[in-house]
Symmetry: C2
Subunit: 431 residues, 2 copies
């Protein structure tokens, strides 16, 4: 297949918008990039898709979420994190979570995400095998962080059971083209030191990443100071988890010294501004982290605290939040946000060798955006329009591994009617 868009935004090299450039795809990868005529001549038997009112860019990487929580969106509105978890989310989960819930909720999340340009998501939820199978079937790229929680829950009897199931998941998807796996201890406070130490050892042994909620609120940090005499970052450092394998989500409460330490250790950070603002968790110091050399990706978090999964909207919010917080309009400019939503997320998930930019040899995870729509014209600054207007609504085509998973209101790899019917089913059941 040869895609010939009006504009190509490759992300690498950074801050470039090319015209007259086609992309040839072969075996799910980008086979070549070049002038329209040249690419077409070199691939005479390829199907040509002309996208003459479109900008083609890498698929977005949603670096943190809980996909099946789409089924809970709109519950627990107007609560702060602690109350939202304890009074709304955990009781609902204890009552309703099973493999069917995860299947239906994950499929709904995938339908929503591909429709607004996301091609990869990092998931952290119960029944990760079910989620992984749903994503593989739908042709969607997933990092499944298998949950590690000490408390018994509908998915597992405790930490050891979580670990057994998680390692089996890892084995099953070892060579998968779409699904990667990693350790998903919920948080330092919910797992405990002994189990965290075990995660550190095992992650090192099997060379896997660790995805964790960390320093989500100041209250969480204050708890650590009370119980451990140091912040959770300090605790993780002692336990051997504060290293280049760590994907640390939220990170709103950080001292300058901690930012330096995190940078030194090669920890990757995932910023979820909508969730943090809605649950009043705090503000991640993204600009300082970037200045210190830390890799930062963007996440929507679960739909229950968002209430959608549109990563373009998240990029817009991250940019505005950084500018307003520091009263500096130059912070997180649009081109940087496009990078954070694509290659930054890929780096945060350790997938930058495969996705995040349109480069020869990388996976053909691509998104076409209609830039002829009245909301996108005139296109003086494509990066700014992508970030600051509602570009998620303008996505017309989404490809993962070269396979079309969304096109103009249709979902070629999903039974959308069934997906909708199951969502409505849960809507009545949970209300």
């Amino acid at each position: 297949m040869v895609l010939s868009p009006r504009y190509l935004l490759p992300v690498a090299p950074a801050n470039r918008v090319l015209e007259g450039v086609s992309v040839a795809l072969r075996d799910g990868r980008v086979a070549s990039l070049g002038p329209h005529d040249e690419v077409v001549a070199n691939h005479p038997r390829a199907d040509r898709v002309t996208l003459d009112r479109h900008l083609l860019m890498p698929g977005l990487v949603n670096a943190h979420g809980h996909l099946a929580m789409t089924l809970l969106r709109g519950l627990g509105e107007a609560q702060a994190l602690e109350a939202w978890l304890a009074e709304t989310i955990w009781p609902m989960e204890a009552r309703w979570i099973d493999a069917e819930f995860v299947r239906d909720g994950t499929r709904l999340a995938v339908a929503e995400m591909v429709a607004c340009g996301t091609t990869t998501a990092a998931d952290m939820y119960y029944f990760p095998e079910t989620a992984a199978l749903v994503c593989r079937e739908a042709g969607f790229r997933l990092q499944a962080a298998f949950p590690l929680i000490s408390q018994p829950n509908p998915y597992s009897t405790g930490f050891d059971d979580c670990l057994t199931k998680g390692l089996a998941l890892r084995d099953r998807f070892r060579d998968d083209d779409l699904v990667t796996t990693c350790f998903g201890p919920h948080s330092a406070y919910a797992v405990g030191d002994e189990h965290l130490r075990k995660v550190a050892t095992l992650a090192d042994e099997v060379d896997a990443d660790v995805h964790i909620h960390l320093h989500e609120t100041q209250a969480e940090v204050d708890d650590a100071l009370r119980t451990h005499g140091g912040t959770w970052i300090k605790v993780l450092d002692v336990l051997g988890l504060l290293n280049e394998k760590l994907q640390a989500v939220h990170m709103t409460a950080l001292t300058d010294a901690e930012i330096e330490l995190v940078a030194e250790r090669g920890v990757r950070v995932i910023h979820c501004p909508h969730s943090n603002m809605k649950l009043t968790s705090g503000v991640c110091p993204v600009t300082k982290l970037l200045d210190a050399g830390v890799t930062v990706g963007l996440g929507t978090d679960g739909a229950a605290s968002n209430n959608g999964l549109d990563l373009f909207a998240e990029a817009r919010l991250a940019s505005l939040l950084a500018k307003a917080t520091a009263a500096d309009p130059s912070l997180l400019p649009a081109a940087d946000m496009v990078e954070m939503a694509t290659l930054g997320g890929a780096r945060a998930l350790g997938l930058a060798h495969r996705i995040g930019s349109i480069e020869v040899g990388k996976c053909a995870d691509l998104v076409a955006v209609d830039v002829d729509h009245p909301s996108m014209q005139p296109l003086h600054d494509p990066h700014a329009q992508l970030v600051h207007a509602a570009a998620g609504a303008r996505v017309t085509h989404t490809f993962v591994n070269g396979r079309c998973v969304y096109e103009n209101g249709t979902w070629p790899t999903l039974d959308i009617d069934e997906t909708r019917a199951r969502a409505a089913h849960w809507g009545s059941r949970l209300s």
Copy 2:
């Protein structure tokens, strides 16, 4: 015509979502509301439009913007207000503004707004007569604040010329069904005391509102303290402008005493969070204003500082900004934001007797939102989904005065190809 939606969100009464209710329209007004069968039986010759996957709500009221500035969107990215105006916007305007620019830019803005559910906009820009004619032709509701600026510009030789043109505009559209007019002094700092006093006298004489940028930044207020020994609010009060006719836009820098004064005087406030965050102007204390009893509407501001005109996105941002700023997740809940984006805006523009809610006798300014889309399901909390997910992207039908102005990617009242072509023309011309 009878519209039979799955859900009806009337806004008045507040915080209600009705099922099984149809709306009959006659002569551009809401003629009746009631159970589907009853309304259909009472209007046997009406065309029935079944919206069985939709929520029907009042059209959104964008209470502040500069419509033709769509043509400048994406210019002056990453600048603060003062530099953005002085280095980018004013030079561009001085060079390019003419009636053709305003015609093309306004038409583009209308196309964008109706596609995301806005049925009324407050405009403040050069060549307001051209903008009014474009909106009337497109069937879009407009409040045209005619510009009053002391400096010569491509539209006028100075204040008196502005006034002559503005009053002629007011006469021309006196009985118009779609266009209302009011005085639009740019700001206290750009107009000067003598001319402001004249505006106060004339606004009183002709019983017209006054729409003004006020206390947009702390720097603006500091200037007043330096030049006038008091804030602009104090200055306007002395000049006789601080009253129930005043539509005060931005209002980021306010003392508690000023909030009380503004409430006492019946001043209406328009909040533009995206523009304020992007240009780092400050944060309007919306919650305090509402608590003091002040009417607050929402505005996108011009597309050049936004970069879009999606009022649903503005509602989301306003809610998140209020919660995060005060660390209180209960602030500006979703139902309040839906009201602010509709009836609140109508009140801010003095149009609440005609628009802002679905009530018998009011204008049939209505919007249908596809709530069956994966991003809106399950619909546990319709208000939360409208505000916190990207509902602007889910708008399928927009009616103004009962006339369909947008339906599923088509614009029945606009030549959309010509609108696009003109936008592209300005895109090349200005770059």
